[in-house]
Symmetry: C2
Subunit: 340 residues, 2 copies
DNA sequence: AAACACCATGCATACGTATGCATTTTGCTC
DNA sequence: GAGCAAAATGCATACGTATGCATGGTGTTT
């Protein structure tokens, strides 16, 4: 029981060759039905499992996918972006369904992660997840492409590159949310979220937001847009700066739920009532969103579907098929933070 | 650039043998300083990475740990226990720090996961995480021990078995929380959480809870304890049943934050004010807890430390050292749900 | 009964690395 | 310059599996 079983041990017990054992366990049609069952029975009885390393080495396939999670540099440990956590969960499930193992790792955008997975044959393909500095990001993507690495990414489409992405229609989501605010009678809109640098998702949300405003013959005040990264604290600070500048607005959209929550806290601490004085909406529908006070109106991204799509498309690439970039729709989730 | 580089390619370029390349890259003292640097430089230049499968096969070490996450069977996909998600994040970090890869997988308690990781040499060791049916669980633990598998688990100590566990002092945590409620003037206590079957953590919390009550010459009413698993919905239903039975109480402890949140919702929907009519406390301090209305008083489990400890101890086992079970203390986090 | 096709199995080898052992090179002593 | 120890390198092999090719066996055809 101590020393590990090998296929030779099984072969000996079954009175066949190691080749036959290997074939039998992989359900090769080359091996006789009866022999196959016998071998499989013996393998099961002896608790034999195929050595993953040897198998991977021989086949040059690892049966493993890697999930690289890029964090906001400002992220503190205690509150990792819950949206990405949901994605992680759904990707984990999707991998299990497909019979793949999942290697999870947090990465600094600056590290040389691009070579660390396929070159080492740790994984057959890579899923990239996270907001990140787009410029630095893009270099790495190009390297991945040059290396013929199979990968997919979550996020906005990268038009210049031949990259398979799965993302949400952020533009439409921002539009939807803002229309809802407008139909609610709101006139003056603040937007909290980084628009200028390296966060295309946030930019799209802002563009959708602005488009809705303009569609209704209202004005977009650039002074009411303030940058923030996707943390509660950053949203809090950003909203605070708006308040301290004495800006007036009756609606506020956070580029993410976390930002919206931080902004909501800043408002409430400064005597504004939500939603009476200021309606607040977020983006993502993280689990927290329904438990806040008031519960947060937001645009839901379907993380379950997203995880499945990412894994499906990655496996298509791994199998040498083509895969298409896909944009998912968002669902407006109306709760009390926006008045109705 | 297409076909993968091997150590032979590096050897050729460096004018040395493959052995020397292997040694140089592993910083073996057998190889001359100058040669080592030259080989490493060439390897870097050619973007060569050691093949993980071949290396693991040869050394019989994978440099990988596996995290098995057992879910509550009742768990719906959208709200995976946030406490375990925090643990996952911290374990991921801890692994990265130690230079290990992390394989993550959700498991049904009933599956034969016990053989699927070390036997296949996918991982050098296993971390078990989750609440689970203890009886079924125990069988599997015994099998793991018999197989000489390296593993550690999160949770209450298993006294009968030689298992390394890292967990919280649930008894003391329950005690702390309840004392706080008592000091707050509360007299009648409800407890929501499964006590009878297979959830030793919850039982300990209940025992600590009861001990505090008895210490203060108050009475523990068994009719005010109702079972629930760790979901918001289950907590909601359980609290609802108490309310519908017309039970009276001025404090409620949930065996976990999720349970407490569900219970709080049930109370509020039925006209009780929290904390005025009923003080509510939870357990875990999940990220959501500070955003609820009112924010939830709870016993914080330090997930960052827990993750580090789990990984440290597992690596001790992997390296043939001994490791000790460890109990972490909980911190009382006072928020508004309990009145002060 | 010979010839053949076909199915099932075995043999031999390669995947890419790490390491025990043999061998060469270097540096030093007398 | 001979002799020797120590340092550096190379050779050969094993890790456990999967698979191309060769071989053996069975049944069918003429």
């Amino acid at each position: 029981m101590k020393s590990k079983q090998t296929s030779f041990d099984i072969a000996y017990r079954a009175g066949v060759s190691q080749s036959t054992v290997s074939r039998a366990l992989r359900n090769s049609p080359l091996v006789n039905e009866e022999t196959r069952l016998r071998v499989q029975a013996i393998a099961k009885e002896l608790n034999y499992k195929v050595d993953k390393n040897a198998s991977s080495l021989r086949t040059q396939q690892s049966g493993t996918l890697a999930l690289l999670l890029f964090e906001d540099p400002t992220n503190d440990d205690s509150l990792i972006n819950p949206f990405f956590m949901s994605m992680l969960a759904s990707i984990t499930r999707a991998c299990a369904t497909k019979g793949y193992d999942l290697l999870v790792s947090f990465q600094e955008m600056s590290a040389d992660w691009h070579a660390d997975f396929e070159d080492t044959r740790k994984a057959d393909g890579i899923i990239l997840l996270g907001y990140g500095d787009y410029n630095e990001y893009e270099e790495k993507l190009i390297q991945l492409i040059e290396q013929d690495t199979c990968f997919v990414r979550w996020g906005a489409e990268v038009k210049e590159l031949q990259v398979v992405s799965v993302g949400c229609d952020n533009l439409h989501g921002g539009f939807q949310l803002t229309e809802h605010l407008i139909n609610n009678g709101r006139k003056t809109f603040a937007f909290v979220g980084g628009v200028s640098c390296g966060q295309p998702e946030f930019l799209d949300r802002y563009l959708g937001h602005s488009k809705a405003i303009e569609n209704h013959q209202l004005t977009v005040d650039k002074g009411l847009q303030v940058d923030a990264v996707s943390t509660e604290e950053s949203g809090y600070q950003a909203a605070l700066s708006l308040i301290q500048q004495g800006k007036k607005f009756d609606a506020l959209m956070g580029a993410s739920d976390l930002i919206a929550l931080g902004a909501m806290r800043a408002l409430q601490e400064n005597g504004y009532k939500v939603p009476e004085d200021v309606a607040v909406v977020g983006f993502d529908d993280i689990p927290i969103a329904s438990f806040t006070f008031p519960p947060l109106t937001t645009a839901k991204q379907d993380t379950m579907l997203a995880g499945e799509l990412l894994v499906d498309k990655l496996l298509q690439l791994v199998n040498g098929e083509v895969a298409e970039t896909q944009l998912m729709t968002t669902d407006l989730v109306i709760r009390k933070s926006c008045g109705s």
